[in-house]
């Protein structure tokens, strides 16, 4: 048998695949990236680009925080069109219950070295005068940021190509396994490792993995500079994003560098069509207006949808797939793929090259979820 053409073939040119390519070429691996459409054109282009530390679980915290520090390290070399701004996040507390959550979150973050400040009702009003009056307060997490994800993905891919990676664009993959990637036009290539970074479409290439499409909507307005100054997320967001069944909406609004306001968010399982769902969009905008009454005076110019890759335990799948030693997974990032892409790439590259990772990899290993399809593999 001849040696494989590539050390690593990455299927999917979203932010996760792009980051994996960027990292693997740094380790002197021969890399191919395969993208069926345009780089960063799927969930990457649809997302908000929030670089956010999350603490739903210790494992989620470790991955998001590690990845955020990687983004901060990368920041000086990012081109201007990536629009990376470290503007912080304000978690908005509507009532005393949510204020208790602010205190818990503040305690967790400060114990773990994440700078954060508790905001009183008056502090919140001073920082974000367009929020409705009478909110209980909030938590300002200082090192969070925003960026423009498709340009970030393109930059990472361009760096990889400059270091010798090969891009197969407009190439649809029909099957992967046993060291080969098969294209729908009948051709194929060989690679020692194949990374499935196909986001919500990953199960089509690796049947049996527990990834489901979770649809989201976003609306963007015309330019209203400083209408909001920080990404604003309701603390109730945690309740709605945790629900694994019902359709949900939450207040999650972000200022863009253009002066535009990006308005989210919605979550739907079982909605496979990309068309805008007017009812859920209406609920989402009503939720946003309940926090920012002045939004009703603004002009929305565009709405779009995207599909998050959701897993049952809300952690991504990063690492070898037990049923095929040549296949690695880098998917299941749900709403955090932009944030966690760089850490995902470090873990994948560490595993491929047999190096120790900066954080424990076990919580994200695909082997943690055993499904009937591969229980005996």
């Amino acid at each position: 048998m001849t040696a494989p053409t590539y050390d690593v073939a990455i299927v999917g040119g979203g932010i996760v695949g792009a980051a994996c390519a960027y990292e693997c070429v740094q380790r002197a691996l021969r890399v191919a990236v395969i993208e069926q459409d345009v780089i960063g054109g799927g969930a990457t282009a649809a997302g908000m680009g929030h670089i956010v530390t999350m603490d739903d679980s210790d494992a989620q915290f470790a991955l998001t925080r590690y990845s955020q520090t990687l983004w901060q390290q990368l920041r000086p070399e990012l081109p201007a069109n990536v629009e990376y701004e470290q503007c912080g996040t304000i978690w908005v507390a509507a009532d005393e219950d949510e204020m208790n959550e602010v205190l818990r979150k503040h305690d967790y973050y400060t114990r773990n070295g994440v700078p954060a400040e508790v905001l009183s009702s008056a502090d919140l009003e001073g920082l974000e005068p367009n929020l409705r009056k009478g909110l209980a307060g909030g938590l300002l997490v200082l090192e969070d940021g925003v960026l423009y994800p498709p340009c970030a993905a393109r930059y990472l891919i361009e760096c990889a190509l400059a270091k010798g990676a090969t891009l197969y664009s407009a190439s649809t993959v029909s099957q992967i396994g046993r060291g080969r990637v098969y294209f729908s036009n009948g051709s194929s290539l060989s690679a020692a490792v194949i990374v499935n970074a196909a986001g919500a479409w990953a199960p089509a290439l690796t049947p049996g993995i527990e990834v489901k499409k979770r649809k989201g909507h976003l609306v963007i307005t015309d330019r209203y500079p400083r209408f909001v100054r920080h990404p604003l997320v309701e603390l109730g967001y945690l309740k709605s994003s945790h629900s694994l069944t019902a359709d949900s909406v939450a207040f999650n609004v972000q200022p863009r560098r253009t002066g535009q306001i990006l308005i989210g968010s919605s979550r739907q399982f079982g909605a496979e069509r990309k068309e805008v769902d007017r009812e859920i969009m209406r609920r989402m905008l009503q939720r946003a207006q309940s926090y920012l009454p002045g939004l009703s005076e603004t002009s929305a110019i565009r709405v779009w949808t995207g599909f998050r890759a959701a897993t049952p335990d809300k952690l991504p799948l990063i690492g070898p797939w037990p049923a095929d030693s040549t296949v690695y997974l880098a998917t299941g990032h749900e709403g955090l793929g932009i944030t966690t892409s760089l850490a995902t790439a470090k873990l994948i590259a560490d595993q491929i090259t047999g190096n120790r990772s900066a954080i424990p990899a076990e919580p994200y290993l695909p082997s943690r979820i055993r499904t009937p399809e591969h229980a005996n593999a």
Partner: protein
């Protein structure tokens, strides 16, 4: 004689026939609609609410399409100044 409406464009009174659009008032006043982000003067183009080139400020509210709004007595319309955002691109 049609009924007439008096409004102000950039602080100066303008008289237009009742039923005229703000875009017509801007043209009557010899005013353009807005300065774009790249600093260009923009004014009415499609006249049917699609292109958003004719956005003006009405009663201090930005991004109002002049071609889609009728003049009313005493209405205050201004050329929309360039929006300072720190960025040229938009999505």
């Amino acid at each position: 004689m049609p009924e007439q409406v008096t409004l102000t464009v950039n602080g100066k009174p303008v008289v237009v026939p009742s039923g005229a659009t703000v875009a017509a008032a801007m043209a009557t006043a010899g005013a353009y609609c807005r300065d774009s982000v790249s600093g260009e003067r923009r004014t009415i183009l499609c006249a049917m609410g699609i292109c958003f080139e004719c956005r003006v400020e009405i009663e201090g509210k930005p991004h109002q399409r002049a071609c889609q709004i009728l003049c009313s007595p005493g209405m205050r319309v201004n050329t929309q100044p360039r929006i300072e955002t720190g960025a040229e691109s938009s999505r």
